[in-house]
């Protein structure tokens, strides 16, 4: 019986260690040099259109976390090697051309995100 308990304890410890390793690993992986202060690359979106259709909220959730906590260090490297500053302004740099950009789909799908509680939406601008 004690051997069983030891096994359980060892498994728990292993899981904790793994969790700690993963947690720290995730964090150290994010630290990178700040992107250049130049204007964002507007040749294309960070991910393909289809991916952004379904996953933009996850990208935004990730960005808002890193932008707030790392500031200038929050930089993402797109799959094709381009670098972007994680910031809502980077998105709006391209996408505010069409004022309906966020709203047309969100209205259709009845999704009401709370981004615009703080961020000033392109629709609110004169």
């Amino acid at each position: 019986m004690p051997s069983k308990k030891i096994l359980i304890g060892a498994a728990a410890a292993l899981m904790l260690l793994a969790a700690a390793y993963l947690a720290t690993g995730a964090e150290t992986g994010l630290v990178s040099d700040p992107a250049s202060a130049a204007a964002p690359d507007t040749t294309g979106c960070i991910y393909p259109k289809e991916y952004m259709h379904s996953h933009h909220m996850q990208v935004l959730a990730d960005w808002k976390e890193h932008a707030a906590h790392e500031g200038p260090d929050a930089v993402m490297t797109a799959p094709d090697g381009r670098r972007f500053q994680k910031d809502l302004a980077t998105c709006l740099g391209c996408h505010s051309d069409n004022r309906q950009f966020c709203f047309s789909c969100h209205t259709y799908a009845n999704v009401k995100p709370n981004c615009w509680n703080c961020h000033i939406s392109p629709q609110d601008l004169p």
Binding site: E50, S54, A61
Partner: protein, 331 residues
């Protein structure tokens, strides 16, 4: 254990069918249009047929189950809900059962303590688990209205807003998602944990639980993990609702798994114990008033009884009676 694993394998197989069909064979038309329509047809037809069937069955006896004082003399307190005397009280009793699972609230559990001593403990776990499960399912169902309406009714929007009150994830986290998973896990393990319950549980008890669990899991994974394009989903659902047979646009296979499993559930529903959803309203032990002393409950299939009055008898035998010298009432 066969009766646990077999339904599990069934559900796994059923989930694989649309995945393989859509991802490898491009059968999105079949799984996105044909099967949902068929399932809806079978569901509505089957449900109506079952209800019609039950409604047309006669109720030969007044068999209300009661656990309270029946309506009697004025100075004896009548328990209106436990022993309803009118149709309204009976309806109220049915509704408390439907909405609050009142009879489960009364569950007790026999415990054998050292002594030996037998004690009855109140046991409300099934009541809580059942309530959590059914109410979450209702809210989740209502929430899906956003796929079926351009703008869902205000009531549903309020429910949805309350459900995603807590900010946890993006897209917004729904409380009922967590609740339904917890409840379903509890309901499965409840049947597995206790030897007595394990014995009386059948494949048909586990299958719907696993099926609903799979639908919920796939639905949640579409929301939080393996995302699909919501716009295409909504377009497809609006299509279906406007009875259009247009081919669906590209949607991730998980959507078809979700839709197919829901269709399976819809088809399975009318022909299984899931029909308790309709049956609870029609159960004669609950929906009848306990008024057998007040009103005569006539068995509808009894042939009308032929009564023969003395007058008729005398009419027939008058002559013979007179001959025999018996007294007659009429001459």
């Amino acid at each position: 254990m066969k009766k646990v694993f077999l339904p599990l394998i069934w559900v796994a197989l059923l989930s694989c069918i649309p995945y393989v069909g859509v991802a490898y064979f491009g059968m999105s038309y079949i799984f996105g249009v044909v099967i949902p329509y068929l399932a809806a047809l079978l569901f509505i037809g089957g449900f109506s047929w079952r209800i019609y069937d039950w409604l047309s069955r006669p109720v030969p006896f007044c068999i209300t189950t009661t656990c309270g004082q029946e309506k009697s003399l004025d100075w004896i307190a009548h328990q209106k809900l436990e022993s309803p005397a009118t149709k309204w009280q009976a309806a109220l009793r049915v509704m408390t059962e439907v909405l609050f699972f009142r009879s489960l609230f009364r569950n007790t559990k026999a415990e054998l303590h050292t002594g030996p001593q037998l004690a009855y403990a109140s046991s409300k776990w099934l009541w809580m688990g059942g309530l959590a499960f059914h109410w979450s399912l209702l809210v989740i169902g209502l929430r899906h209205a956003r796929f079926f309406f351009m703008e869902p009714p205000l009531f549903i929007r309020l429910v949805e807003r309350t459900d995603r009150f807590f900010e946890l994830t993006l897209p917004a986290f729904y409380m009922t998602d967590a609740l339904v998973l917890t409840a379903i896990t509890f309901l499965v393990f409840r049947r597995l944990r206790d030897a007595k319950l394990r014995i009386i549980s059948l494949q048909t008890d586990f299958f719907p639980l696993f099926l609903i669990g799979a639908i919920a899991l796939v639905g949640m994974s579409m929301r939080y993990v393996e995302k699909v394009d919501v716009m295409a989903v909504k377009a497809q659902m609006m299509n279906l609702l406007s009875f259009s047979f247009a081919a669906p646009v590209e949607i991730g296979p998980f959507f078809y798994v979700h839709l197919f499993l829901a269709s399976v559930l819809a088809v399975y529903f009318p022909f299984s114990k899931l029909m308790h959803a309709g049956a609870i309203f029609l159960s004669p032990t609950r929906n009848l008033a306990n008024n057998s002393r007040e009103k005569r409950h006539v068995n509808p299939w009894n042939k009308p009884i032929k009564f023969r009055t003395y007058a008729e008898y005398e009419d027939e035998y008058r002559e013979k009676m007179k001959k025999a010298g018996l007294p007659v009432e009429k001459d």
